[in-house]
């Protein structure tokens, strides 16, 4: 069947055409640009009515804080949200893509999306890219079968847990969970526990910092608490302001007017065609 050619994006997979050239450049002394990593603390827990997800808001580029208040809790479906750690671009692109696929799936089936569907789509995508898509995710949501919480690793393996942490601050946060988590927490207790775990990551891990974002998912209802806590406000701002002195000294100012150069032609004709 010959179809009229439409602009189609190339089908799947990475194109490794430039790898040899990149290697050659590095050998010749080029410094490869680094990417934005989220070096994060992300957590999730299941409480009596549903799932609570939490995340810090610092995005790092090596030792520099690139974004002091980024959003790490991504929308997947009205009843499913996902926290992402790893390379920021990877987590955003992958969650965006799966969210799009789930929207189409919802239209075709006429039903609410299930968390396991999102899980399967995410893990098969990550497995296909053999860990090169550096996204470590905490996926949580409430669907017709109840509340669910999963962790997904960059290579595509998953865990199903009642409470989970990921990212560079995961050990600090897990310490809080392991000592204080119990089944049947109420909403307020759950939110407080999640906030405490994120705070633990913020203060004890360099890769995490700034504020606490929380998302509470229950049956048929979601609450996105952006900047639920801001334990790192900028406390001192000088009233006088800051004057930055000029580094260059002016020794001499000389103004040279540009002289118009007019040629006078004797006996010239008026403008000809």
């Amino acid at each position: 069947m010959s179809k009229v050619a439409i602009d189609m994006p190339p089908k799947g997979g990475f194109s490794f055409d430039l790898c040899k050239r990149n290697d050659m450049l590095v050998k010749n002394g080029l410094k490869m640009p680094s990417f934005l990593k989220t070096g994060t603390t992300i957590v999730g827990l299941i409480f009596q009515d549903g799932v609570i997800l939490g995340a810090d808001t610092r995005a790092t580029e090596g030792p520099i804080v690139a974004d002091k208040n980024c959003e790490k809790i991504h929308y997947i479906a009205p009843n499913i949200y996902c926290c992402g750690a790893g390379t920021a671009a990877d987590t955003e692109a992958v969650t965006d893509m799966i969210s799009s696929q789930l929207t189409l799936h919802r239209y075709h089936t006429g039903r609410e999306s299930r968390v396991v569907t999102a899980l399967s789509l995410l893990k098969s995508h990550l497995f296909n890219y053999q860990g090169h898509v550096s996204a470590a995710l905490v996926l949580g949501g409430v669907d017709i079968t109840g509340p669910h919480l999963h962790t997904i690793y960059p290579h595509g393996s998953t865990d199903t847990l009642p409470y989970a942490t990921m990212g560079s601050g995961s050990l600090a946060a897990m310490a809080i969970f392991e000592s204080k988590y119990r089944e049947g927490l109420t909403r307020d207790e759950g939110v407080e526990l999640v906030a405490e775990a994120i705070r633990s990551g913020i203060f004890n891990d360099l890769g995490s910092g700034s504020n606490v974002d929380i998302c509470v998912l229950t049956k048929g209802h979601k609450e996105y608490l952006r900047n639920h806590e801001t334990p790192n406000p900028r406390t001192y701002v000088s009233e006088k302001g800051y004057s930055f002195s000029k580094k260059t000294e002016i020794l001499l100012t000389k103004i040279t007017p540009l002289v118009e150069k007019i040629e006078i032609i004797e006996g010239g004709d008026a403008m000809e065609e």
Partner: protein
């Protein structure tokens, strides 16, 4: 008729300048169940007959009016399975647009892309044109809009339109009844009355389908009980 020699091949023009297959596709549409759409000042309504082949068919499982995006819906006249293919493609295109531009697709864009798909199937080898005409109803920043797309891939914006069986009577009725400042509720009543004109048998909430979109930009299909309420008001 000289045309008949050219009627087998889709991609061959007849001497009179027509693509006979497309004419036949329009005939297929013309023998489909009546559907219509009306654009009001604050919304759009689309409606169709839902005549099932037998009383044994579970009418709750049949849905002719489909949603394409939260603010765009569609109804068809003609071959149901063909419309399913188009609905699927349109939904995907709308979602791809949204992923790329992070804004809901404007109604004109979606209509244009759907029409392009339909046109593709009139200029390729080994395929036949779609045997459906679509009425696309949407509400975006430009306000309420109603478009009709034909098997040839041509599309027009309408204030009110009808397709399928009984189209000429329905259009005459709509021409008489349409006013520019009509509100959505009046439009629904007019739609019901238009359907009633050519309806064989007793009209009820179970054998017609109505979809509306108002200024809240949320397309929805009315439930049978809501249709019954409107029917009562019309009586």
């Amino acid at each position: 008729m000289g045309d008949s020699q050219y009627s087998f091949s889709l991609t061959t023009f007849s001497p009179s300048g027509k693509l006979v297959q497309i004419e036949h596709a329009l005939t297929a549409v013309g023998s489909g169940q009546t559907s219509l759409g009306i654009k009001a000042s604050n919304g759009v309504v689309i409606a169709t007959e839902k005549k099932l082949p037998s009383i044994l068919v579970d009418e709750a499982s049949v849905q002719k009016i489909q949603i394409l995006t939260p603010n765009i819906g569609v109804v068809y006249s003609g071959m149901g399975p063909d419309s399913r293919v188009l609905v699927r493609k349109s939904r995907k295109q709308a979602e791809q647009y949204h992923r790329l531009y992070k804004e809901p697709i404007p109604v004109t864009q979606l209509v244009r892309e759907t029409a392009a798909v339909m046109q593709e199937f009139t200029q390729s080898g080994g395929v036949r044109p779609f045997g459906v005409s679509l009425l696309v109803a949407g509400y975006d920043d430009k306000g309420p809009q109603l478009y009709q797309v034909d098997p040839s891939g041509s599309y027009f914006s309408w204030k009110a339109s009808a397709m399928g069986k009984n189209v000429s009577n329905a259009k005459t009725f709509l021409e008489k009844r349409y006013t520019d400042d009509m509100e959505l509720d009046d439009a629904v009543h007019t739609a019901i009355l238009t359907l009633k004109e050519g309806f064989e048998g007793q009209i009820s909430g179970k054998n017609i389908e109505i979809g509306i979109i108002s200024a809240d930009k949320k397309f929805r299909v009315l439930t049978p009980s809501e249709i019954e309420d409107y029917l009562q008001e019309v009586e």
